[in-house]
Amino acid sequence: MENHAIEFRGITKRFGSVTANNNVDLYVDKGTIMSLLGENGSGKTTLMNMLAGIYMPDEGQIYVDGKPVSILSPKDAFDNGVGMIHQHFKLIDVFTAAENVALGINEGKYDLKDVAAKVTEICNKYGFDIDPAKKIYDMSVSEKQTVEIIKVLYRGANTLILDEPTAVLTPQETSKLFSIMKTMKEDGKAIIIITHKLNEVMEISDVVAVLRKGEHIATVKTSETNPQQLTEMMVGRAVELDIARKDPVNPVPRLTISNLTCRNSDGVVKLNNVSFVANGGEILGIAGIAGSGQKELLEAVAGLNKIDSGSIIYTPEGKEPAELVGLSPMKIKEAGVALAFVPEDRLGMGLVGGMGMTGNMMLRSWNKGKGPFIDRKGPEKLAADVFEFLEVKTPHIDYPVRKLSGGNVQKVLVGREIATSPSVLMSAYAVRGLDINTSYVIYDLMCEQKEKGTAVVFVGEDLDVLLQLCDRILVLCGGEVSGIVDARTTTKEEIGLLMTSVGGKEEN
């Protein structure tokens, strides 16, 4: 019998009192694509990091091609033919593709021509489309990812680990990536892909390994399973995978944005002439490739971003319309515009990592009341409510939120924003990095807000979710509105096209 490409035997890894992986036995064969599936904090990334030489297992043994190995560094990993493509690319912006590939290789002569030739060879073999002389800063996200993959292949990797590779890609780019993965598989590579998206799991992988709370639950053939079953294995119980989307009741304009233009601190136009209406009782989805102006749009409405021109008219229920441009963030918040903004690093804005739940609830109320002293009672009660209602997993409510898992951090943030009963609720990447179960809790909360008559603006990454959750979807491309579509009738492909073009024109 042929040896497994990679095998984990009895792997255990602990961080302090937390057991990230417990006695994991798992293998992957050559010429196979395996999906590694699990909720947040189930130990997927930890397990892969041990294979990639970033962590050392506390117990157990890793075998590569049947031989026991000790992987102490990423270099050891490469020597064993294991390469990992991380979620955050590790490329030097001002270098070309070939230079990035050559980086860190200490053998032989530094001959860029030779490297470039080999890169071209790899491209031809697997069907990549990349110019070795192109600089990284000129590349799209998808191209950067390609360079990462080439880097790994160049070092002779037989096993590739991809950590959530599709999170940053458009549907078109994703299908291109998948076809490349299939070519690599035919070439005999073993591929492990970490993903949260079940439809992708079903589409690309041959086998699915499910982790739950650090333990390996099962490995099943993709052809013999279905999303419902996989979810149950991940979560440990049956989960409803439907979003109960009701028709909007009596939508009235709540936010009317016209001709909004913003620049960032470097003077680059980030939003160009953006106009749209967000209605109460409706969820307006915002789609777009990362960095198309989503962040700037929400920040502009919240008063955090300087506005060059345009107007934002806010019409609270039963009140006169008011202009928000020029008001301070505090005033806008008091008017009832809430921002549950989850930035890339999640704790960078909206939450204070070093504080507990109570301290974070205070961010909303710290300025209330007279006198120099801060009110702790109200926030304490709110923290207790959020803790109970959203089932936040924390040792106690004053435990620093930085130490909580991503999902729980998110619950604290969204819980607090909803508690202010806003009339406009803006959320960006509210489910980023969340497991399925928690994501659906968040979706339900959004729907609940909508039914209460709140205007919900939901910036999302997963198009399938946007299509199921939203009433209308606004697509941004390069800071401009490239279309507003009805979520009930549009298709993923249509949105995908809008994401890369303004008004039907192809960009570049």
């Binding site: 009895g10 255990t12 602990r14 961080f15 302090g16 009192s17 937390v18 006695n23 050392m56 506390d58 117990e59 157990g60 043994q61 026991p68 000790s70 102490l72 919240a302 955090l304 301070s328 963030p329 505090m330 918040k333 921002l339 903004f341 930035p343 704790l347 960078g348 804005m349 909206g350 939450l351 204070v352 990592g353 070093g354 504080m355 301290g359 205070m362 961010l363 909303r364 710290w366 300025n367 120099p372 002293f373 801060i374």
Partner: protein, 363 residues
């Protein structure tokens, strides 16, 4: 595991128990004392005797204790002043200059107004002047930082030399007492802080400041703003805080308290103004602040410990003629051990053999 496993690995330890924390700290202190003994031996002294002298000269007699308290007052006061800045991640290392400017402002009134008012009022005026001047001096770099993004570490540091230079100029110029003496005249006794239990009453003021700072940092809106801003400027902005206001206000408060320390030192101890009025306190206080992990109550203990060490050092010099700089070395060793031991509280070391055993047990 095979032989490629590293001999020692470091792993993060979460939530060490109280007992463990204190065991490690006491052990670190013991190690520091032992290392100190080696230094004494090298310096040619009997280490046991040397430690004995350090303790008896500082805590063994009344005058020693008084001196210790006198040394601890500015350390504690300045440590407290720096705490809100450090909580805000605003690296104010300009306490030295803020102390000097506070002392200068107080001195102006001590020299010029002593005949115009009763002692209590004069002292009050001097105190207020020192608060205002220290605060303004400290607000300058804060304004620059929040307006134009200048680096406050360099800025506050440079301001120290300016402040000291100004006083040196006053000393030799406009405020000089006897021409050519380079000395500012002694204060009238109306401008000298009264004594309480043998030490100038600044110790009461700093103890009040301990309580004030504890409440300010933990129970007020200002304290909350400082904590949030220290964690993330974006979060503070998002919560509707005025970054400029909070930064400048906090820096000014810090400088004001430093200024008050300058007033207490000039009026209570030196009874005159010298360019060296701060005498390095502004820097040592940074150590006090961090060793105490910004906790005002812990600062009381640490400033007292440092004061004991420095008084013990002068005892060594007079009794055993061991140079006082030896005690600086000892102080350094103690600080290094106390700060270094935090590593053993937060991390644990895993040795290869032990790990292999664990592995077998698991198998």
């Amino acid at each position: 595991m095979n032989e490629k496993t590293p001999f020692i690995r470091i792993a993060k330890r979460e939530d060490a128990s109280k007992k463990r924390i204190w065991t490690v700290r006491i052990a670190a202190f013991a190690v520091a004392i032992l290392l100190g003994m080696i230094i004494f031996v090298i310096a040619g002294a009997n280490p046991i005797k040397a430690y004995g002298v350090m303790i008896t000269s500082s805590l063994g007699k009344k005058s020693g204790i008084k001196q210790v308290v006198k040394n601890a007052i500015p350390l504690l006061g300045t440590g407290l002043a720096l705490a809100p800045c450090f909580r805000m991640r605003y690296w104010n290392i300009g306490a030295e200059g803020q102390i000097t400017m506070g002392a200068m402002a107080a001195t102006y009134f001590a020299l010029n107004w002593y005949s115009k008012m009763p002692s209590a009022v004069l002292l009050l005026v001097m105190g207020i002047a020192s608060l205002v001047f220290g605060g303004l001096w400290s607000a300058i770099p804060a304004i620059f930082k929040s307006r134009w993004g200048t680096n406050e570490t360099l800025f506050t540091l440079m301001m120290n030399y300016i402040a000291i230079g100004i006083v040196a100029w006053l000393q030799g110029g406009p405020w000089e007492g006897k021409p050519g003496s380079q000395i500012i005249p002694m204060f009238d006794k109306k401008a000298v802080l009264p004594k309480l239990f043998g030490v100038h009453c600044g110790w009461v003021i700093v103890l009040l400041l301990v309580a004030f700072m504890f409440v300010y940092m933990n129970y007020t809106k200002h304290g909350y703003e400082i904590a949030v801003l220290g964690e993330s400027e974006n979060t503070a902005r998002y919560a509707g805080m005025n970054i400029l206001k909070v930064t400048v206000r906090t820096a000014a408060l810090s400088g004001a308290i430093c200024g008050l320390v300058g007033f207490m030192t000039a009026s209570g101890v030196n009874q005159t103004l010298q360019s060296g009025v701060a005498g390095g306190v502004g820097f040592t206080a940074i150590t006090v602040c961090w060793l105490a992990q910004l906790n005002p109550f812990a600062m009381v203990a640490i400033s007292f410990l440092l004061a004991v060490l420095s008084k013990g050092a002068s005892g060594l010099q007079t009794t055993l003629s061991i140079p006082a700089s030896i005690s600086d070395i000892i102080t350094g060793i103690i600080l290094l051990c106390m700060l270094g031991c935090e590593f053993f509280i937060n991390y644990r070391l895993i040795f290869r053999d032990k790990q292999a055993k664990n592995g077998k047990e698991a198998a």
